[in-house]
Amino acid sequence: MTPSHDDTDRDQYLWDGTGTPDPEVARLETLLAPYRHRAPFVTPTPMSTLPGRAVHPRRRFAVHAAMQIMLAAASLVFVVGAAWFAHAVRPSGWTVQSLAGAPQVAGTTIAAPSRLPVGQVVTTDNTSRARIDVGSIGVVDVEPNSRVRLVTSRAGEHRMALDRGGIRALIWAPPGLFFVNTPAATAVDLGCAYRLQVDDRGWGTVRVETGWVAFEYDGRESFIPRDAMCATRPGFGPGTPCYEDAPHGIVDALTILDFSPTGDVRRKQALDTVLRQSRQRDALTLWHLLSRGTPDERVRVYDRLASLVPPPASATRDTIARGDRRALDDWWSSLGLDSASWWRIWKRKWS
């Protein structure tokens, strides 16, 4: 069948809007045009910048300079972005479903996807697993032998507590909207996927798969990027993060440095190990040690880190020994990982 002239003309209008308007198409255009996409662009937050990009040493100064210029704007963008998302994410509640076995909500086995009210507990035995939909911002898989509680679910803050066991969280909200309380520290999502384990003593470990997680307790902060881990202990807070592929001995040495009293005789040998074994990639670990331990230990860390990543002008032995935040931030920016400025702004919001 050969198309008629009218058919051809109608198709032309449907194709590119030229020719004789097809009344039916034109009517639909008029009816549906109000639903056209008009939402403004919401700039991604700076912490959404993917971590771990290698920065060549020769480019570091240029990158650093550019970052300084971008920081102010990026910080503002972060606040605006987070504010937008806080309103955009509706507190639609959390739901729980079984992935295996017979997980329970408030002591009752769930047979079908169920609402998880604030204050209620999800428990799994050694054969059960559950999935929690966290509003519209992510999912949390609860591993066997775990106990988690929903603490808060409202626009701007989604918070759960992991009392024991393990979870894997995949969160796509901007940084600072999803929190996991553990007995030793609070894990703050910075846009990522991670696994969190807490044993019966309250000792915890976070392992980050993508993005970043912050751990905080009583003013002690750790930032953990992709492929890194960090331990926590009640009373101490977060330990020092290190990459999963850290050289032999570093993890054990950090356990001593993080969770032993400053008079422990093992500390010197432990620090020797960390400093001797550290690669340039382990600048992440050394940077955290700059603000921990005794003044003498910090000076030794300073020297080692300076040999791996040249310090910025603001980061002298003196400023670092004094715990000067700007100096620490400047050096962080030189590591080629990410900026710490977002943290300072954001922390004020949630602390």
Binding site: M1, D11, L14, W15, D16, G17, E24, V25, L28, E29, L31, L32, A33, P34, Y35, R36, H37, A39, F41, V42, T43, P44, S48, T49, L50, R53, A66, M70, V77, A88, V89, T95, Q97, A112, P113, D133, S136, W172, P174, G191, T210, G211
Partner: protein, 201 residues
């Protein structure tokens, strides 16, 4: 005469970073200049240039919106568009071929819509709460038109959403989806034919 051409799906060939189900997508080609621009913008965005990502949003916001509107209730779509672009921003490093951004983000959008339905289906029936600037009859007519489009095969409904809602022309649709102009034309023609039949029933 029976239709001999099947609808052409709006799936790029480069999107293997995001898992998909279903048949292998048909071969697609983004226009060389357009893809090169995408590649340049993706590389700049990876380096931290948010303006570059804004440009990608300008290019693909309507495409993502249309793909979502073809699957999800109107009042959920704007949030999901933002979700999709946030996810893309975070996972930009995972995109193996920067020039394949268009197909990649389209696939993220489709998966996001599927995920949305998976979560929503067990709990609530989605209301179609469209607030039309026109009167009640126009609102009802718009609702009916959207519902009818959503009832079409996937490739038709996506193409028609892009044409009738987003206001893109056929050549623009081809440029932004990577489909050949001939495929877009086929989808528009056959989709519109089915839509007329549905609306006039």
């Amino acid at each position: 005469m029976p239709d001999v051409l099947r609808p052409v799906e709006l799936i790029a060939e480069h999107g293997a970073d995001i898992p998909v189900s279903g048949p292998h997508p048909p071969a697609m080609r983004f226009p060389a200049g357009h893809a090169a621009d995408d590649g340049r913008l993706v590389r700049a965005a990876r380096a931290g240039d948010q303006g570059a990502f804004s440009s990608l949003y300008e290019r693909y916001g309507r495409v993502v919106h249309a793909l979502l509107l073809a699957r999800v209730a109107r009042d959920e779509v704007d949030d999901l568009v933002q979700d999709v672009f946030l996810a893309a921003w975070r996972r930009l490093e995972d995109l193996r071929d920067p020039a394949a951004f268009g197909g990649w983000i389209a696939m993220i959008a489709r998966n996001r819509a599927t995920d949305f339905h998976r979560r929503a289906a067990e709990h609530v029936a989605l209301p179609e709460n469209i607030e039309s600037p026109g009167g009640a009859s126009e609102q009802a007519e718009a609702n009916a038109a959207l519902a009818a489009i959503r009832g079409l095969p996937e490739a038709y409904r996506e193409t028609l959403m892009l044409r009738l809602v987003e206001g893109l022309t056929g050549p623009e649709i081809a440029e932004r989806t990577g489909l050949t102009p001939a495929s877009v034309r086929v989808n528009l023609h056959r989709g519109m034919k089915l839509l007329r039949a549905k609306l006039n029933r």
